[in-house]
Amino acid sequence: MKLSSKWMQLAALAVLVAVLPLFFPSGYYYRVGALIFVNGLAVTGLVILIGYAGQISLGHAGFAGIGGYACALAPAHLGLPPSLSILLGAVISAVLAVLIGKPILRLRGYYLAVATLGFGILVSMVLTNERALTGGPDGMAVQGLALRKILRGWGWKLSSGEFWYILSALAMLVGVWIALNLFQSATGRAMRALHGSEVAARTVGIDVARLKLQAFVISAVYASVAGSLLALQNQFVTPDIAGFMHSIEMVTMAVLGGVGSVLGAVTGSAILTLLPQVLTVFAEYEQLVLGLVMILVMIFLPRGLLPSIAAKLKGRGE
């Protein structure tokens, strides 16, 4: 990756985000856009864990759940403003990621997948069963963000859809920027090295356990912030946010787009968020078509959409 390519990727993404609304047929699409960006943020975190460091997690929705419920519970019970609740959720997620990451990151492959799966299920069960606190499976209401009112005070009148479109896009762009910084840094290179060969990484002085943990914690914070933003823009949160299906959805987005590439992750999020909207015309066959698309991509573009297409273009250019 060349030095300038980081800014090229960021600029391309920013332009896309800015231009897209010109083609929106209705205000509804701001909501879809915001959802894509929030998913993109969470999946970018997974790219760091899976694509850089080579560690799998099937439980990252658990961290999204913690971020989401932090924004529901902290304002209601602690009187914390929602903006600080995002931070609180991120801190709790980070601490939890350290505590569970230390023992389970010793595991590899399938075993790590099952352990993280267990963590996700645990969080979603707690959220479902602690009715007194979380409202159980029915979920609970979430206070809106005060920022929109403040902006309105300054004469910047945004609809809820527009506001969340912009805020989610900014959050994703910052997330992508950080992930791209990491890619080129000593830490990111060491993560990719341990992905390539753990033994060799050790012999050049890389503390493999520590780096795996760092990747796990960083990706947990990404998921947590994404969960918070999701809860805040829906002004509602249910235990589904921490559910198994959400974890799987996140990993699928990452793999579909290309797990080694940050922009691929964003592409994957966009496709898997949009496809169900488009496929509603197929009514009950929606899931069927969705599954078929994923199978075909994995067969014909096994490295994910973006890296496979990039490799094909490069091959033709030479």
Partner: protein
């Protein structure tokens, strides 16, 4: 006190003593070769010295300090590193990046600086990049710097692995069959490189099947058979040692000292 001192080292797998009571020492600038028939325990010995296996008896001392139970990354930071018999290359990274990873200790700083690409982190990376390019020149891979490592030839990868190890500025370097699978030209290149490294003051531990190369460049040879040390000394004395000749020729084994590849 020697730079590297191995004494009474042993390990068993199940009922089998893979290595038993092996000891030797190495000084700066010395090339110590470890030879022996297949299955003699050479790689196992390397794995214990480099911290990959935990020996169940004996000691490894680096500068007099006991480092027997130290993890590989700690040993690496203390100046002992290695290459592998079956290449351990970061295939999905570029050739240059592979070597930059070798500079990890000097390049890495705070995680926050890396995440935010602060000037301090960028400066560290630039220095590591420049140094890595120098090392690539030294192993004549500078032209392939931006290629994916996975695309390189076998001999080139062997040199890349050495360059990555050199990035750590080791005092003790363990080379596990650096010339295996290389053609005559590549072998000679590696041969020169090893001699050059020893001259710069690095203690080299070498496991190699190419006996011509071993006899030519070693200062000291340790011979293993069935996990035990059966001889030790200069290349001349070892090649005349009856026990060594028996180990290579005897017991119906068709390998011979100089025909073994």
């Amino acid at each position: 006190m020697s730079l590297l001192e191995v004494s009474g080292l042993g390990i068993g797998f199940g009922g089998l003593r893979a290595v038993d009571n092996v000891g030797f020492s190495a000084e700066p600038g010395e090339i110590v070769s470890i030879i022996g028939p297949n299955g003699a325990g050479k790689t196992t010995l390397f794995n214990m010295i480099s911290g990959v296996y935990l020996p169940d008896s004996g000691h490894v001392r680096l500068d007099g300090q006991d480092v027997t139970a130290a993890e590989p990354h700690r040993l690496a930071r203390m100046g002992l590193t290695r290459t592998f018999q079956n290449l351990q290359i970061f295939q999905e990274m570029t050739v240059l990046e592979n070597v930059i990873v070798g500079f990890h200790q000097s390049e890495s700083g705070s995680l926050i600086a890396d995440l935010l690409a602060l000037p301090a982190a960028r400066r560290r990376s630039q220095i590591a990049r420049a140094q890595a390019q120098e090392l690539l020149k030294r192993v004549r891979l500078d032209k392939a710097a931006e290629e994916l490592a996975g695309n390189l030839s076998y001999g080139a990868l062997k040199r890349l692995e050495i360059a990555r190890a050199l990035a750590m500025q080791p005092r003790v370097l363990l080379l596990d069959e650096p010339a295996a699978g290389c053609n005559a030209v590549e072998t000679e290149e590696i041969d020169h490189l090893i001699a050059e490294l020893a001259q710069s003051g690095i203690a080299i531990l070498l496991v190699e099947h190419d006996m011509k190369m071993v006899m030519r460049i070693s200062n000291h040879i340790v011979v293993l058979d069935h996990g035990e040390k059966i001889a030790e000394g200069s290349p001349e004395s070892v090649s005349k040692n009856p026990a060594v000749i028996a180990a290579y020729l005897g017991a119906g084994d068709e390998e011979s000292v100089d025909a073994d590849s």
